[in-house]
């Protein structure tokens, strides 16, 4: 994978500023901000934490891995706090002024239009169904992931701080926790595979911008921010 512009070497402050338009390689028409700094930090922060959760889960759960890694007390602690950090990052990066672009995107992901239903019926294969900034698949994925995070964190808290809960709640929580995480593993794998199929979109999660050409092609209903107004996305 070659990156035209990577995040490597950039400071956190630079990440938080909207990316500059100059120097972004695009075909014509320039580029637009698809994801602001705080959104990208949120995305990669959660990606890293999710990775830790899945690796530690494997070490707690799958016998060959469990025997290989051992250190049950440490792995357990790491798993619990990496998991709790996910909603913390979501809230921390979603509040305040810097959270505005994320809240705007969350609003877009929440809303379903007639185009989305059409898109879903054709499973995205009909190029004449216009889409907003996010397509119907992305909207469903986002909602599923959000719901899964709530379920997994809530049941995980029951599993870790089990004392006040009756046994059936603890057993039920383990069941919900395991199966939701199992399902999430597949949707995340799908998410990553789709990202690699569209390197431009993936790159925009790294450097923030995407060409206007891409936007017109894949997100024609997205009201693009104008050149001089990067604050709204």
């Amino acid at each position: 994978m070659t990156w035209t512009r990577g995040s490597a070497g950039r400071t956190v402050g630079a990440m938080l500023r909207p990316p500059d338009e100059a120097g972004t390689p695009t075909t014509f028409g320039g580029s637009v901000v698809r994801f602001h700094g705080a959104e990208r930090m949120l995305h990669w922060g959660i990606a890293a934490l999710f990775g830790i959760c899945m690796l530690t889960a494997a070490a707690l759960y799958f016998d060959p891995f469990a025997a290989l890694v051992g250190r049950r007390a440490t792995v357990k602690t790491l798993h619990v706090y990496a998991g709790l950090a996910i909603p913390a990052v979501l809230v921390g990066m979603g509040i305040g002024r810097w959270g505005r672009p994320f809240r705007a995107d969350a609003g877009r992901l929440n809303r379903w239009t007639k185009h989305d239903s059409r898109w879903l019926r054709r499973l995205g294969r009909d190029p004449f169904v216009p889409q907003g900034k996010f397509n119907a698949g992305q909207k469903l994925n986002a909602s599923f992931t959000a719901g899964a995070i709530v379920l997994i964190v809530a049941t995980g808290v029951v599993m870790r701080w089990f004392d006040p809960f009756p046994l059936w709640v603890r057993t039920g929580s383990t069941f919900v926790h395991d199966w939701t995480a199992f399902a999430l593993l597949f949707t995340i794998a799908g998410h990553i595979s789709y990202a690699f199929r569209d390197p431009d979109a993936l790159r925009s999660m790294v450097n923030g911008t995407i060409s206007r050409e891409w936007a017109a092609r894949h997100a024609s209903l997205w009201r693009l921010p104008s050149e001089d107004d990067n604050s709204r996305t």
Binding site: D63, P130, G172, A201
Partner: protein, 270 residues
């Protein structure tokens, strides 16, 4: 998960992309785009399907909480154990170790020491253990984290017999167990240790105890949660009082009766 952008290969707007890069002014692009443009804001009028999805999932989660235990059992009994071992389910052993490696010791190298407040400190090898009177127990194995393996057959030597062989001094009221993993410890009161269903086990499920299961020799305390049945047992020390073991120092109950401790209500295993 359906698509990052699935019409990648079938672009909506072919016209601008066929032009040499930079030769089409932005205004042209915009015109093409505007033909089908309904502004972004229409989305604000859309139904809140995202919220519905999330709420439905919470509902499903609540159902799963209620039905989970029953579904889990039905699932475990309906699929092959090989397949089940890859999926979240109960009814099988899970391998827990508190150190960063899998402790291993051959039967030949194995030694069990009995020390502390005893008349005759002992060092027993594997052969010496297997020559003592054997006791067989078949019982469920219940872990405090929730999983339970039904009807596991164990063979071993009664802990009481080993204590009698060493001769407990007056004042010896408890036992401290050590593991050759170098870290894990456990404890029992003398009264608990002398129960008939507490054995130093050298066989499980009809064969040797494998290393992941704590072999070649482990403790098996039938009426208590799994953490009392210390794996890779290599030392028994008779003490004057109970010294809490590894998980007991981390919050688990010292008296770990199945169904009567750790705020759990599992069916007793013995």
């Amino acid at each position: 998960m359906l698509s990052e952008c699935s019409n990648v290969k079938r672009p909506v707007i072919e016209v601008p992309s066929l032009q040499p890069a930079g030769s089409v002014p932005w205004e042209t692009m915009q015109t093409v785009a505007e033909e089908q443009v309904v502004p972004d804001e229409v989305e604000a009028a859309g139904t809140q399907v995202g919220r519905r999805v999330i709420l439905s999932m919470l509902g499903l989660g609540a159902l799963g909480l209620l039905a989970g235990p029953r579904l889990q059992d039905a699932f475990a009994s309906s699929v092959s154990s090989d397949f089940a071992s890859l999926l979240p389910s109960g009814g099988r052993f899970r391998i827990y170790t508190v150190v960063g490696f899998l402790p291993e010791r051959s039967k030949d190298a194995y030694r069990l020491t009995v020390t502390g407040m005893v008349e005759r400190p002992l060092e027993l090898n594997y052969e010496a253990l297997t020559k003592m009177a054997p006791t067989s127990i078949t019982a469920d194995f219940q872990c405090v984290t929730g999983w339970r393996v039904p009807d596991v057959p164990w063979v071993g030597v009664r802990l009481a017999d080993i204590l009698d062989a060493a001769g407990v001094q007056p004042g010896g009221a408890a036992l401290r167990f050590t593991s050759f993993d170098g870290v894990y410890t456990e404890s029992l009161t003398m009264e608990q240790a002398r129960r008939k269903d507490v054995i130093v086990a050298y066989s499980m499920e009809g064969g040797d105890i494998s290393s992941p299961h704590g072999g070649p020799v482990r403790l098996y305390v039938a009426p208590m949660y799994g953490y009392k049945s210390i794996k890779w047992l290599d030392g028994i020390e008779v003490t004057a009082a109970v010294e809490p073991g590894y998980w007991e120092l981390r919050g688990y109950d010292v008296d770990a009766w199945v169904g009567g401790s750790n705020r759990r209500s599992d069916a007793p295993t013995a």
